[in-house]
């Protein structure tokens, strides 16, 4: 029988200690800093959690790439949208003059804003890329009101942890954490390439998150809710996408 060498003993001991310390620190950090996504259960939970935690540790404050005016796609692709209901058609016929964005939940002053109210609140334009999970992409100039300005106007409460946003199509809803909700490039978009936002591209109002895949940039937004828990919404997985098997966090 070969005796245990001292070097091997010290190395094994140190790596075991480092491993356990690492795990303990990781679990403590992740619970304190919200590094666990709402869809962290299930077979793919470990992957979802690793991706989300790594992105929150690395890229919480980073800015999505912005492009020059010359790189705007001349042939953007709107993707197909499900047939829009009678409600939407009425709004469309009225030129969206009656479209309201309601803001409620964990806010001091619930709001109901028209598109004109939004335009008067603040304006930001940015040239960013839409990248679809299928693989295609295009670049456009997006003009809108930063979500953070709407949330500050509504007096978002410090205990809010997520922002849930709803399309007029009832099957279509999404949520983001506060890092994305308060991010300067998260835009309630009502204009595209120097015009109104066309309906196929999400007009009159689309949430644009250039740091995540296209499906987080929900079209036809009419309702925002600030919350401290996603458990009450749908199946509690954070949005409609995880219920269909897709990741809640789409920054990859």
């Amino acid at each position: 029988m070969k005796t245990l060498s001292r070097r091997k003993l010290i190395t094994t001991g140190l790596s075991a200690a480092a491993g356990f310390t690492g795990l303990a620190v990781a679990s403590r950090l992740s619970s304190r800093y919200g590094l666990i996504p709402p869809d962290s259960a299930g077979f793919y939970g470990p992957g979802e959690t690793l991706t989300y935690a790594a992105q929150r540790l690395l890229t919480t404050h980073s800015l999505a790439r912005e492009f020059s005016r010359g790189s705007i796609s001349t042939m953007p692709f709107a993707n197909e949208v499900p047939p829009l209901g009678a409600d939407f058609k009425l709004h469309q016929a009225a030129g969206f003059s009656e479209w309201r964005l309601t803001v409620d939940g964990m806010v001091a002053r619930p709001l109901s804003l028209s598109l004109s109210d939004l335009r008067h609140l603040s304006v930001r334009s940015q040239i960013t890329e839409v990248a679809c999970e299928e693989g295609w992409s295009y670049i456009a100039e997006w003009i809108g009101t930063p979500l953070i300005d709407v949330l500050l106007e509504a007096g978002i409460l410090p205990q809010a942890r997520y922002l849930v946003y709803f399309s007029i199509d009832r099957d279509w809803w999404e949520s983001i954490d506060m890092a994305d909700a308060l991010h300067p490039q998260t835009l309630l978009t009502w204009g595209m390439n120097n015009g109104d936002l066309p309906v196929p591209f999400g007009g009159p109002l689309r949430m644009r998150l250039p740091r995540q895949l296209g499906y987080k940039s929900l079209k036809y937004i009419h309702h925002l809710t600030a919350t401290d828990s996603l458990k009450r919404f749908g199946q509690g997985l954070g949005s409609a996408e995880p219920e269909a098997g897709y990741s809640w966090f789409a920054g990859i």
Binding site: E48, A64, R65, M75, P76, C132, G135, W136, S137, I252
Partner: protein
Amino acid sequence: MPARTCRLAAHPAIVWLISRHSVGALWYAPRVTPTTAARTVEAPRHSALVRVTHWLTVLCVFALLLSGAEIIVSHPRFYWGETGNVNIPPLFTIPIPSSRRTVPTGYSYVMPDQNGWSRSLHFQTAWLLVFTGLAYGAAGLWSGHIKNDLLPTPAQRRWPAYRDRILRYLRRSPPDPAEELSYNVLQRTAYLAVIFLLFPLLIWTGLALSPSFDSAFPATVHLLGGRQSARTLHFFLSAALILFVIAHVTMVALSGFRSRMRAIVTGRALPTEKRP
């Protein structure tokens, strides 16, 4: 360090527990003592590190290729530069039906959408592969596996060494007895290229497709020429990996599938001359 601090650790029970006769067997390369070697026909070939990381890599590569192919089905068109979509002429198209109605493929039917689980499997497996690779790299550097087994020996670092080994393959000459216990120059070069070039490039081009990662490290995608270039390169690198897998499995089959599989599972190999 004084000897008595190690007294507890040197207790026979603990030594046995960590030794290769017990749990420790997982971590030690199989080693045959001279007296046993005389009686057995088997020789050690792959350490536990190589065997465990090899099969984890097999699992990961299989899942990544399967889910990657499934993701391609949703848009089997490839572009060059930053942007690309169905309104833009592609660099090339894979002639398969798509799982999206919006993609013109020439087929009249649409495949079922399998992107949800495919994407989750792709990223979860990518994480496992990264951890496997880090463990392999760290342990391989520490143990000398990379330096001794993979880096071509000084005698092999010459073009004639490559030429000679290629000629031996072409003539179907039996392997040199030394090759029973160590890799030849072509194996070393191929393994080094896959481990330290192909996999890192696959990870790089994959990370370049993450919009969040690009926001923090934009050079990741700029150096590749844009998002669509990164996607196309990711595809070609995967194709290169498939070519390696085909060549690797073919060579295993040609040099004795049973004995090679036995070696990568149990760690021991039968020398050629004693093989039944």
